[in-house]
């Protein structure tokens, strides 16, 4: 947009493009952008048009909505059907289809489902309406977990009895290791998430470089950030030496944000977590520590066992693992569109399928 930054930016972009061209590897390499915001930025800016064919950017499991399992969605739907609660959720979750309904559909049927922009909205509502049970869907990686932790601590301190979370928080670094161990997936480098790393720093990725010799670069979200990060990845790759570099150093420090990390540590402990289409991954999630367990909506509001099923034909799991590109799924842009999404990757504004559908479906 015309905001007066065009001249110098063009030069930086050209310089980076030249450098990437010069450093292009002899064979195709797979670089996984872990974060959904990166996927969106790459598709939206048309960045692939600037890259040599040898750089194959594949999307990873870094869209929180996309990796939320069907059985979690079904459980949340079960809660609002069976209990008189007010449910607060971020907007993206509302359209994700569960096995036989979605939050949007339940809202239309009269259930009290509200979209919020901040978890504080749910907290404030609970305080103002002590007679109403309030459930907030706590979703996201290390980026949003500190916010949830703050609210849980406050609710605990203020002895707020009607505020609960349905916890689906997940962790990035252990999930990356599990992807590396999957023989179906061939990852040569990681473009690591900027926001998650602002909290955890660069150290938690070090094992990926040390143990697996996979280059990692923590990247910002502007197209120039991503180009520079790709150039840094090629620098490592061509030397055959893997390390963890921070391109997004205006935000990310090696030690991260110790205060936020300590909050996560205080309120949560690592636990197994169900990832959409991937299954149960050991120690890739967070659960509330025992003293805060009374805020856990899943415990407080049990529902009948649900036979959660993935929609037939949906390849979200393979898309999330980077095995398939969205347009390699047979449902993509046919049975599955943003208007009638089959899987969550088509719903979320950070989903790979939504990004490809919106920005890369039609060739110019």
């Amino acid at each position: 947009m015309a905001t007066g930054r065009t001249g110098w930016m063009k030069k930086i972009i050209n310089d980076l493009k030249k450098s990437i061209d010069k450093n292009r590897p002899p064979n195709t390499i797979n670089i996984m952008e872990v974060c959904g915001t990166h996927t969106m930025a790459i598709s939206r800016s048309g960045l692939r048009q600037l890259l040599p064919d040898e750089l194959n950017l594949i999307s990873g499991p870094g869209c929180p909505v996309c990796v939320t399992s069907n059985r979690d969605i079904d459980h949340i739907i079960g809660i609002i059907r069976d209990y008189p609660v007010t449910l607060f959720t971020f907007g993206d979750m509302i359209r994700v289809p569960g096995t036989d309904s979605s939050l949007q559909l339940e809202k239309s049927r009269g259930k009290d489902v509200r979209i919020c922009y901040s978890p504080m909205d749910a907290f404030d509502y609970a305080k103002k309406n002590p007679d109403r049970e309030v459930v907030f869907i706590a979703i996201g990686f290390e980026t949003t977990a500190p916010l949830t932790a703050v609210l849980i601590k406050r609710a605990y301190g203020e002895d707020l009895k009607n505020f609960h979370i349905f916890n689906t928080h997940k962790l990035v670094p252990p999930a990356l290791e599990l992807l590396l161990l999957d023989k179906e997936i061939n990852i040569d480098a990681f473009l690591c998430p900027g926001h998650v790393s602002a909290i955890i720093g660069s150290i938690p990725y070090q094992f990926i470089a040390d143990k697996y010799n996979i280059p990692c670069v923590i990247s910002g979200f502007e197209p120039v950030d991503i180009l520079e990060s790709l150039d840094m990845i090629l620098g490592q790759y061509n030397k055959g030496r893997a390390s963890v570099q921070i391109q997004y150093d205006r935000v990310v420090k090696p030690e991260g944000n110790p205060t936020a990390a300590a909050l996560i540590e205080e309120v949560f402990e690592p636990a197994d977590s169900f990832w959409r289409g991937i299954g149960n991954l050991p120690l890739t999630g967070l659960k509330l520590r025992d003293r805060y367990m009374r805020f856990d909506a899943a415990v407080l509001f049990p529902v009948k066992t649900i036979d959660s099923k993935e929609p037939p034909g949906c390849k979200c799991g393979d898309v999330l693992k980077g095995i398939l590109k969205p347009f390699e799924c047979r449902l993509f842009a046919r049975a599955c569109t943003p208007e009638n999404p089959v899987g969550p990757c088509m719903v979320s504004s950070e989903g790979s399928c939504a990004a490809y559908y919106k920005y890369e479906r039609t060739k110019i």
Partner: protein, 340 residues
Amino acid sequence: MSKKFTDDIIQLSHGDGGLKTSKLISGLILDHIGNKILNKLEDSAVLADINSKLAFTTDSFVVNPIFFPGGDIGKLSICGTINDLATTGCIPLALSLSFIIEEGFKIKDLKKILQSIKKVTDECKISIVTGDTKVVERGSADKLFINTSGIGAIGKNISISPSNIMKGDKIIINGGIAEHGISVINSRNNFNFSSDIISDCAPLHSLVQDMLKVSKNIHCLRDATRGGIATVLIELAKISNCRIDIYENKIPVKKEVLGICEFLGMDPLYIANEGKMIAFVRSDEANIVLEAMKKNKYGGESCIIGEVSKKGKNNLVLNTQLGTKRILDLLYSEQLPRIC
């Protein structure tokens, strides 16, 4: 203000056609926007002989909140219809105005809205010649809905229509985009962004008249309201069966608007404007039109943002600052409901 009308809230009886209705109309509404024709309170307005082609349009307004930085539902309802008329190049002649008011609505808010209607109709030198007022039970409407219709006279030899769009036409806009939508969402959601973004809500017929004075080759005009400039241009690419190219680094958008859009994950190209006209002008006259627009009160920031590049490819292509291209598609769900 009349001393006759002292009620402080709207009651159902203000809409039942009886004494209270009469007092509301005579004591409050006519007191603000009355004129020779409206004051007759006849079922139909009778207009003088009009010897030209007519433009006729209607629009309903349900914005939430009804007061927002830079305007309110009253100003919006007049500007919206004036601008729809303006896209034909006509001179607006007369408007209708209908209120649907929720029981319990504050009279002081209705006064504010009538004052703002008065201000903008005075500026446009146009009269409201007919109208209606209904009151519905509490909960049956959200505070106040307004419908306006308008007619205008189209001068001889003026033909402005998407079917006139031609390869080579330059696309001009009269200033920064997305300000209305962002101002409304900012006032709706208590985000507490410390910004002074105000709605661009404005009547644009004088701008159009200034453009028509300098060029006979203005092929098409559209006000880029709901869905923003992208939606309007996609529709026009389809109707005219042309490929339209726009340039990211030429599209004017305030830094604050861009900042809030990025924060909320919204695309300013798809966000509503209420005072932005998009013009397709034959390329050799684009600069004269641009200069005329810049001299108008509502066109100081006018600029060329793209052109019609090919016949037969009905796409809208965004040329990004990176030097890449991407096709802009219609949004599959609204970014913001009840924006106008």
